[in-house]
């Protein structure tokens, strides 16, 4: 087997719970809840009209009014009421523009899973160069002809690309399931136009859009990944404190001495995963334009230089300072 692939496989074996089981469990819970909510259904009487809720979770309702089928979006009350016959004549882009909440629907799983991925990534990075020193297996790994550069870069690759890819796949899988579920369900409802309730075009467009967002996030977060890896390689115990305390100290020193907040703003831009130009949270607002914004920012390139330094320091620590 390829020497690089087996390193990735090793990470998946070691961190199976965080990297594979957790997204799968969350995906399964979402699927089960959706099915249960759909099966349970709900009837609502609004303005004297009898309304049947079919999906239960995603705020889409359909009802029959005087023999005419209509659909609408429900969010803290009915809004976006549309006549189905009218909607079929609209092109999807116009319809999404008129009903922004509709475009949010397929985005929700991506938003949920990428926040989950952020948390999983943090936990993974904090532990990946700490546990082999803690459980004393480090000398076994070091007895293999694998360089520390390969080792450390594999872990950075997992955090930057594999974990977001897992989140993207899980969210896409949920959306595909939901599309299928709604298609089947619509046959039992008064609305036989699942494409209106949940547009395939919107699903694909959202998936594509979040792919760009995830890639931009991966590049943007490299300095953060480098910092957490360094903490993981250097902490003798409680890596989380090693992660937070130096940063907190820097923020306090800057504020006390200079009275400014630059460091906290920089740290905040990574915690919030902010687009450097629009300041949108790239985990919430998707789009390929984030990549352009990230790559054209000075902070990104300074951050990449810092990542290289942090990764070098991490490798140096792994080669020269380790307990056994």
């Amino acid at each position: 087997m390829n020497r690089y692939l087996i390193q990735i496989k090793r990470e998946l074996w070691e961190h199976k719970g965080a990297l594979i089981t957790t997204p799968l469990v969350v995906l399964t819970i979402c699927v089960v809840l959706t099915i249960l909510a759909g099966l349970a259904g709900r009837d609502v009487v609004q303005g004297g009209q009898f309304i049947s809720q079919h999906d239960g979770m995603m705020s889409f309702y359909s009802f029959s009014s005087d023999g005419q089928q209509q659909s609408f979006i429900y969010h803290k009350g009915i809004n976006g009421l549309s006549n189905i016959t009218d909607m079929t004549t609209q092109n999807p882009a116009t319809m999404l523009e008129q009903n922004p909440a509709m475009s949010l629907l397929p985005a929700l799983p991506y938003i949920a899973f990428d926040h989950l991925a952020w948390l999983i990534g943090l936990i993974y990075l904090l532990s990946c160069l700490f546990t082999d020193r803690k459980d004393k297996s480090i000398l076994f790994w070091k007895s293999m002809p694998v360089s520390e550069w390969q080792n450390v870069l594999t872990k950075a690759f997992i955090a930057a690309f594999i974990i977001p890819a897992t989140a993207w796949l899980a969210a896409s899988a949920y959306n595909l399931f939901y599309l299928l579920f709604m298609t089947i369900w619509s046959f039992f409802s008064s609305v036989h136009h699942p494409d209106l309730l949940f547009q395939p075009q919107a699903v694909l467009a959202t998936a594509w859009s979040f792919l760009g967002s995830y890639l931009a996030t991966s590049i943007w977060m490299l300095p953060f990944i480098g910092w957490v890896l360094l903490v993981s390689a250097s902490a003798k115990k409680t890596p989380f404190l090693y992660l937070v305390l130096p940063l907190l100290a820097l923020v306090l020193i800057e504020y006390t001495v200079l009275g400014s907040h630059h460091i906290s703003q920089i740290i905040g831009s990574y915690i919030n995963v902010s687009d450097p130009r629009t300041e949108q949270n790239m985990l919430n607002v998707s789009g390929w334009y984030h990549i352009q914004n990230v790559l054209s920012s000075v902070q990104c390139w300074l951050g990449l230089a810092a990542s290289a330094g942090l990764l070098y320091a991490t490798v140096w620590l792994r080669e020269n300072r380790f307990e056994n």
Binding site: M1, N2, R3, L5, I6, Q7, K9, R10, W13, E14, D132, D135, K136, S137, L139, F140, W141, K142, S143, M144, P145, V146, S147, E319, N320, N324
Partner: protein, 311 residues
């Protein structure tokens, strides 16, 4: 080792030093290890064994000249580890790993690993390939580790207290497997252990190290020629000393003494008592004690010279 041959040395150490603050872990250590040898690195705790092994394996820097298989261990560690395997008492296999995953991993990263050989070795044990390491006993973990290492066609195998904490059955199995299934003339083994008696019959060479100094570097053949141990009665002891023979170490035994000599013709001693080749343990104690006495004497002389200079 000191045996002169034309073979390229597996390990070539010249004037090695290692210092932690004021503590000298290694002090001017020089030796050569040739191919096809089983070398015992013997020394008490804190003698410098681990520092030396770490240096040989490229896990820490040593001052001085060190070449292992013609490579600089620290700079070329990854390349070196394609030809060097090691099992350390602290090299614990990760508890989350499954047995078949361990084989897959080593097969994936090591170009000289033979999967069939590892599986054949494991087939002789009761280890289930689907088990996690944490479900195995310490003996089984060592068997697994040994199976992985023996399936690697390495030129040098470094064993640092490999049988520590194992019961006698596993310890015996460990060394017999090592000799029967692994060792050949192309391979070299470097072992450190406190249980010297267990490896004594395996070794072809010994390196004694104490307080960072190499106190003996010899082949086992040389030992039997250079050293002899004489068991004598109390009266016999006086006669030996009166005859001008000076043992490097002596030990009182029930009704007599055991005297250890270096560089004395055994035939000249045979008349005084029973002669035999000293065990590694006895020789180690003798060499370390005499080296300590010598260092103590040198230190005393040096202190006196300083005092005189001060006056």
């Amino acid at each position: 080792m000191k045996t002169t041959t034309n073979h390229a040395a597996i390990i070539e150490a010249q004037g090695l030093h290692k210092q932690y603050g004021d503590f000298k872990a290694l002090n001017d250590v020089s030796f050569r290890v040739l191919p096809g040898r089983i070398v015992g690195l013997i020394g008490p705790n804190g003698a410098g064994k681990t520092s030396l092994l770490k240096g040989i394996l490229g896990l820490s820097t040593l001052d001085g000249g060190l070449s292992v298989l013609g490579l600089k261990p620290m700079k070329e560690r990854t390349k070196l580890l394609e030809q060097v395997s090691f099992i350390a008492d602290t090299a614990i296999l990760p508890s989350w790993l499954k047995v078949h995953q361990a084989i897959d991993y080593v097969a994936g990263v090591h170009p000289r690993f033979n999967r069939e050989k590892a599986q054949a070795f494991l087939a002789k044990t009761t280890i289930n390939p689907k088990s996690r390491i944490k479900a195995l006993s310490k003996g089984m973990v060592t068997q697994l580790h040994l199976a992985l290492v023996m399936a690697i066609d390495s030129k040098l195998l470094v064993l640092d207290e490999p049988t520590l904490g194992l019961d006698i059955m596993y310890r015996k199995q460990f060394y017999s497997s090592l000799l029967e299934d692994y060792f050949d003339e192309q391979k070299t083994i470097l072992i450190t252990t406190h249980q010297v008696e267990e490896v004594e019959n395996l070794l072809t060479d010994v390196l004694f190290i104490d307080r960072g100094h190499l106190v003996l570097d010899s082949s086992m053949d040389d030992i039997s020629q250079r050293f002899c141990q004489l068991s004598v009665s109390t009266e016999g002891r006086h006669q030996v000393l009166e005859a001008g023979f000076q043992p490097i170490y002596e030990e009182t035994r029930l009704g007599g003494a055991s005297l250890l000599f270096e560089g004395v013709d055994p035939e000249t001693l045979a008349a005084f008592g029973k002669l035999h080749t000293p065990s590694i343990a006895d020789l180690f104690v003798a060499k370390v004690s005499s080296a300590n006495e010598r260092r103590h004497d040198e230190s005393t002389v040096s202190n006196m010279q300083w005092k005189e200079a001060g006056q």
